[in-house]
Each structure stands twice: as C-alpha cells, then as structure tokens.
C-alpha cells in the first residue's frame, strides 16, 4: 500500500508543474518563487510588475482560502527566532546569489535538463542533507 502522503505529494507536484507550464507557455516566464519576489521591488510600475504581483496574490490567496475551508493548516515551523532569522537570511541571500530556488532551478531547470538547474539542485539538496545531519543529529539544534 502506497502511503497517502506520497499520493498527495505526486498530485500536488503535478499541480505545481502545470502552474509552471501555464506561466511558461502563457507568458514566456520561468516560474521561480525567489525571482518573482525579488523582482517585485525591481520592476515597480512596469507591466511585468503587475504580472508578478498577481502571481503573488494567487500564491498567497489560494492556499489561504483552501486552508480556511479545510479548517486550518500548519507549517510546524520552529519557534526559535535565531534559527528563523538565520535561515531566512541564508535563503534570501543564497537564492539571489545562485539565481534560483526549488521552483526555478528544481522544477523549471531540471525538467529542461539544464546543467545549471541540475548542478544547483544537487548542491542545495546535498548541503541541506549535511546541515540537517549535523544540526539535528550532532548538535541537536534543528
């Protein structure tokens, strides 16, 4: 019996991939979450800005409505403020330096067999595994 979590994962994944396909074939754009957010304050006033802003409206609004309809959702995130701030800074700075995150490099890049997307994805997953191993099993802070 396949765990339900994996089936929901596949189903949700298909939705994410179709969203990226609509963004690409519809408007000629790569659906990368970090790029869309960082692009918000770099493109103010342009028609591109309007597209990015509406994308974010959908990205925040649709899960908000769905979570409300199903009686709430949980991120189960840590409440350690030091971890939250450090992780946020690393994710923000790193995704701009490396030009992408899980959606841009992972979904859009790997599906195109882009060497950059594959190299970036392998790197962030590998570093994530090491940081998790050390942070959780050696230092016990995660």
């Amino acid at each position: 019996m396949i765990p339900m979590d994996w089936i929901y994962g596949l189903l949700g994944g298909l939705m994410i991939g179709i969203a990226a396909a609509i963004y690409l074939l519809g408007d000629g754009r790569i659906m990368g979450a970090s790029g869309v957010i960082a692009g918000l304050w770099q493109s103010v006033g342009s028609t591109v800005w309007q597209g990015r802003a509406l994308f974010v409206v959908g990205l925040v609004g649709a899960p908000a409505i769905a979570a409300w309809a199903m009686g709430g959702a949980e991120t189960n995130a840590t409440t350690n403020p030091v971890l939250l701030v450090l992780a946020g800074l690393l994710v923000g700075y790193g995704t701009r330096l490396g030009n992408g995150c899980t959606s841009g490099h992972g979904v859009c890049g790997m599906s195109r067999l882009s060497p950059r997307g594959i190299a970036a994805t392998v790197t962030f997953v590998a570093v994530g595994v090491v940081v998790m191993a050390v942070g959780r099993h050696v230092l016990g802070v995660i």
Partner: protein, 141 residues
C-alpha cells in the same frame, strides 16, 4: 490575458504546495533528514512537477512566442560557476534549518503565524542585502 495567466499560475502553484504537504516544514526537513526518519514525499512532489513541465519545454521548443506574445526564454549558457554553487549551498543550509524555501514561505503566509512572518521578512532582507552588495560591487568594478 497576462493578469489571468499570472493569477491562475500563482493560485495553482500555491494549492499544489499545500496539497503536496510542502508547506509543512516537518515534511521538507524529513526529506533532508537522510540519516534520521527519512520522508521521501518531496521526491514525489518534484517528480510530479517535472513531468508536466518537461512536456511544456518540448512544446516551447516548437513555438517562438507565448500566448501573450512574449518570446519564450532561450536556453541560458551552461555556466556552472562559484556564484551558482555558492548561492545554492547557502540556500540549502537555510532550507534545512527551518524547512522553508521561497515558494512555501509565501504560500503559507496566511496560516504560518509569526514564525512564518519572521522567516519571510528575513528572507526579503537577505535578498535586498544581496542586491545592495551586488550593486556596490558593480559600482566599484
């Protein structure tokens, strides 16, 4: 047209993140916890997302323009440098610490409580910090 496409794409992306469980940091951290109670869900999400997008790239290769008349993005030069790998490494470290990457961080803003807001604000600060440093380097060069 662009407005409808952007809104629909963002909404579907957000719903997909919620349905797949990727807005739950425990599931994301579980995937990275290879030496603990490993949770392979993220691999199914990635596989599911890559399938339709791979088809989309094939279609894109046969067309010149998007529905809105924008040129479809060309294949970037395959330059794998320290900037790409260093950025990915910093991102991977932050991703493991809390279990949020940019997509789920935004998608969970409405229900993630104060930890989600603190993470999001720090992420934006990190992005602005990079742009500030990048611009200064550009001026110096």
């Amino acid at each position: 047209m662009r407005a409808a496409i952007s809104l629909l794409s963002g909404a579907l992306f957000g719903l997909g993140l919620l349905v797949s469980g990727m807005t739950d940091t425990a599931k994301v951290q579980g995937f990275l916890d290879l030496f603990g109670a490993w949770d392979p869900t993220l691999a199914f999400v990635m596989g599911g997302a890559i399938l339709p997008m791979a088809v989309a790239w094939v279609v894109a290769g046969r067309r010149r323009l998007s529905l809105t008349g924008e040129p479809l993005p060309a294949r970037p030069a395959a330059i794998i440098n320290g900037r790409l790998l260093g950025g990915a490494a910093l991102f991977g470290a932050g991703w493991a610490l809390v279990g949020l990457c940019p997509g789920p961080a935004i998608a969970s803003l409405s229900f993630g409580g104060w930890p989600g807001l603190v993470f999001f604000a720090s992420m934006v600060l990190g992005m602005i910090g990079f742009q500030w440093r990048d611009a200064r380097k550009g001026l110096a060069a």
